[in-house]
Symmetry: C2
Subunit: 259 residues, 2 copies
C-alpha cells in the first residue's frame, strides 16, 4: 500500500499558503465530493489521498477507479493524518493536489456575460461567486489584482467544484474595462443611486457586470467606466447586502433580461 | 475606571455556548459597529466592553455617550482581553452582552411576507438570511426547531445588526404551515420541478416563503404544505445554490411581484 513520506506531507501542507501554491504550481481540493468531481474532469491532478473508511463506504464516489483511470496512485491515510494535511477543521473523506491551469481571457461576446470582481478579498465570497457564475452560465470571471486568488482553499471549498468550469483570469480592471467599453461592451455595476433592477429602462442583456466588495463598493476608477448604473432596490433597513448575495440577485436580473 | 472581575469574564465566555446563553438569558454582540447599533436601539443591554484605542479613535461611534444614555457602565479592556472574551479571531473594538427578548409570532397578513426556515443549521447562513429579511422588509421569520438559534455568535455577526429589527420565533413547521394554509395564506417554497421564477403564471405577492437547507432541501412534510412550488432557473452546471443566495433571489422575486 503506498504511503506518504514526511517530505510529501510537508509539501502538501505548504499548499495552505499562497507562497507554497506559487512555488509548487498546485493547490488543494478538499472533501470527497469535490475530489470526485476533480477526478472526473480533465483538470490536472498530482496526488489523491483518502481514508479507508471513505473508500469502503457504499455511498462514496469510487475514487479508486477514478484514480486508476487517471494513472494516479491513491494513498490511504487515517482521518487524523488527512485532517492535518488540509485546512478543514475535520476531514474524514479525501483530499487532492491539483495542478495550476491558466485560463484564457477574452473580450466579452454579444449575449454573453463576463463577471469582473473589484477587490473581493474574502475567499468564501469569491467561491460563492464562482458557483453563481457557474449556475447562471457566465462566460468568464476577470479579477482585479487585489481580489483573493481562486486557489485559496476557502474559495475552492465554497465554489463546490465550480472552479473546474468557470474560466478565471486577472487584469487591471479600470484599464481592462476601458478597453471593453471602447470596443462597445456594456459595463454594468451596482451603485447606490442607479436605476432600479426592478424597473430597468432597457433590459440588461450582457457585456460585463462588475461586483465590488461589500465594505468598499466599486472603486472610483471602476465606477468611472460604468455604462449601466444599477441599484438593487431596498425595502427595509439593512445597510447593505454582501457581495455574494448582490452577485446572485444581479445575475438573476441579467438572465431575466435575456429571456 | 471600572474593571472586569475574573467571575465576570467567565460569565461572558460562557455565552459562546448555547448552554450559557440559555442559563443567563443573554448573548454576545461583537464588533464596534454592531455594538453601536445595539446601544442605539431599544434592545436590553447588560454590559459593554471596549478598548481605549477604539474609544479614542475619531471615526469610532461614541460608545461612551451611548452607554451613559443607557445607564450602563462601559468597561475599558485591552484588545487581547477583549479577543479572549469573544468568538472573533481578533477583536480590537468592542463587545456587548445583550439580554434575550421574545419576539411575538403572528399569522401572515395580506401583502406581507413571512419567511419560514426549515432546518437552516449553518449560523452564517441564518445571519445572512436575517439581513436579507431586513433588506427586503420581511415581517417575521419563523424557524423550525432544528434551525440554529439566532443568538449564535456567528449568526449575530452575519446579521450585521438585522437581528435588532426582524422578529424571529420558532414553530413546528409542518403544523404551523398547515394552520396558515387553512387560513388561506399562500405557502411558497423552492423545489427542483416547480414553476420558473422568471415566468410565473401569477405574481407571488406574499404569504409564507419557506427556505430549506442546501444539502437537504425542504423536508417532505414541509413540501406537502406548499401551495406555490417555485424553481430558480439554472443556466449552467452548478448543482445547487446555497440557502442564503436562494433566499436573496426568491425575496427579490417576491418584491418584483408586488411592485
Amino acid at each position: 500500500m503506498p504511503e506518504l513520506t514526511k517530505a510529501e506531507q510537508k509539501r502538501i501542507r505548504e499548499l495552505h499558503a499562497k507562497k507554497g501554491r506559487r512555488e509548487q504550481g498546485a493547490f488543494l481540493v478538499e472533501g470527497g465530493k469535490s475530489v470526485a468531481e476533480l477526478l472526473a474532469s480533465d483538470w490536472p491532478v498530482l496526488a489523491v489521498c483518502a481514508t479507508p473508511e471513505y473508500l469502503a463506504a457504499t455511498d462514496s464516489p469510487d475514487l479508486r477507479a477514478a484514480s486508476i483511470r487517471r494513472g494516479l496512485r491513491l494513498v490511504e491515510v487515517s482521518a487524523s493524518l488527512l485532517t492535518s494535511l488540509g485546512t478543514f477543521e475535520h476531514n474524514d473523506s479525501a483530499i487532492a493536489v491539483a495542478g495550476l491551469r491558466a485560463w484564457p481571457q477574452r473580450p466579452p461576446r454579444a449575449g454573453e456575460l463576463t463577471l469582473a470582481l473589484d477587490d473581493i478579498r474574502d475567499p468564501g465570497n469569491l467561491g460563492t461567486i464562482l458557483r453563481l457564475a457557474d449556475w447562471y452560465g457566465v462566460s468568464q470571471v476577470v479579477c482585479s489584482p487585489a481580489t483573493v486568488e481562486w486557489q485559496n482553499p476557502k474559495a475552492i471549498a465554497a465554489s463546490m467544484g465550480s472552479f473546474l468550469r468557470v474560466p478565471v483570469s486577472a487584469a487591471d480592471l479600470p484599464d481592462w474595462l476601458a478597453a471593453q467599453r471602447d470596443a462597445g461592451a456594456v459595463i454594468a455595476g451596482a451603485v447606490l443611486d442607479g436605476e432600479s433592477t426592478h424597473a430597468l429602462a432597457a433590459p440588461f442583456t450582457g457585456g460585463v457586470l462588475v461586483i465590488g466588495s461589500e465594505s468598499h463598493g466599486l472603486s472610483p476608477a471602476v465606477q468611472a467606466q460604468l455604462t449601466r448604473r444599477l441599484t438593487i432596490p431596498r425595502f427595509g433597513q439593512a445597510e447593505s447586502l454582501n457581495a455574494g448575495i448582490a452577485a446572485g440577485i444581479l445575475l438573476d436580473t441579467w438572465r431575466r433580461g435575456r429571456s
